[in-house]
Amino acid sequence: MSVIEILFYTAFLSQIFLLSFYFPRKIQNRMTQVMTDYPPAEYPRLYPKPIDYYSNSHRAYRIINQVIFIIGLMILSALFVWDYMSDGLVSPMIPWAYFMVQMMPLLYLELSEFSCFKQMRKADLPTTRKAELIPRHLFDVVSPTLFTGAVLAYIAAIIFVLYINNFAFYWGSKALLTILIFTAGNLFFAGIIFWNLYGKKLDPYQTGKDRIKLMKVTVKSLIYVSIGVSIFITITQAINRYDMDILEPLMMSLFLQFISLASIGERLQTLRIEEFDLEVYKNDAANQKP
């Protein structure tokens, strides 16, 4: 077994463990902590749906992750037993497709959260609403250095793509297609950042300070992901150019883990429940929209 094969199997195992065991367990602990420390009886506004809904969601989240974890181990065993790697049959799409499946429980949680916010807004009958009379700008939530770094990484990646493709930049060329997809991805990130900065508040009770905290983490994560994408594009272009395709699945798995750490990991690391003002979810809180 070659070093690259060992590295790929290790990276894929790490992907399975990170996204279907480590993060889900952390998220689940956090959900349990919220329900224990901020019980529905004291914080009814935090639970706009019947309590059963939350316990069922948590159980479903745990079971789906366990199933996906087992599927991951089965894929890894199959690749290992049938030695697909040395035959060059492992497509970078395998870690990618599995990653998509790994993201499903998170998507399920996100959708549940949206549905809860919707319910909160429906049930909410406040007579007053508050807002800070201070403009928000991009650099209030992210450092200019980090943002400039992301822009420079984007430009460098584009120049590298053009260079690798001998500046063959015409309609239908590989370089143009790569740049278009890459730019569309960054525009999508920019859209999410804009929506976070200026969009409507989803949680009607959330305080201005807590909103800024969340914004900072979200924007920072997206900038990290954008830098990660630029680096990934550069590496994959080099791999293709120098016929090192065998490295592609390894790089893909490492990239996916990087973006997960930059987004989910950063969020879990930076945001602590105790630092949020959850008093607003108490029933006796003033009849106000913060």
Binding site: T128, A131, P135, Y198, K200
Partner: protein, 126 residues
């Protein structure tokens, strides 16, 4: 500085915004040259229609309490403090009261005043 809007209050929402921004200027919570949030930001934060906030900003700009500097944004006017003290609504009420008093003194009836007022307003629109 925090803006608090009472959506069930008797005062129109745009008027609440105008008054609170003027009071903030008078109490020096916000000062000349300070930047204000964009219409979209404030409307979304207060869960109001963009048009409501735009109307408030338009009235504040008319009264020279704020000034819009193109794409750079909206700022508190250098003479905001002096201009915030002027209550245009009160001035309108005083002027109208004087006029109505004079008209009534001349024997004009209430309905004639109302009709004349509507006609003049309609003519102004056209």
């Amino acid at each position: 500085m925090e803006i608090i809007i009472d959506i069930e209050g008797p005062q129109p929402l745009f008027s609440q915004l105008v008054e609170q921004i003027k009071s903030a200027v008078l109490s020096e919570e916000i000062n000349p040259g300070d930047a204000l949030p964009s219409i979209r930001q404030l409307a979304n934060d207060l869960d109001l229609n963009n048009k409501t906030v735009a109307k408030a900003y338009r009235l504040l700009e008319r009264d020279s309490v704020i000034q819009t500097k193109g794409y750079r944004g909206t700022y508190i006017h250098p003479d905001a403090k002096k201009n915030s003290a002027i209550d245009l609504n009160e001035w309108v009420l005083r002027k109208l009261s004087e006029t109505i008093k004079a008209l009534k003194g001349a024997g004009v009836t209430d309905s004639e005043i109302r009709n004349a007022f509507s006609t003049v307003m309609n003519n102004q629109k056209n």
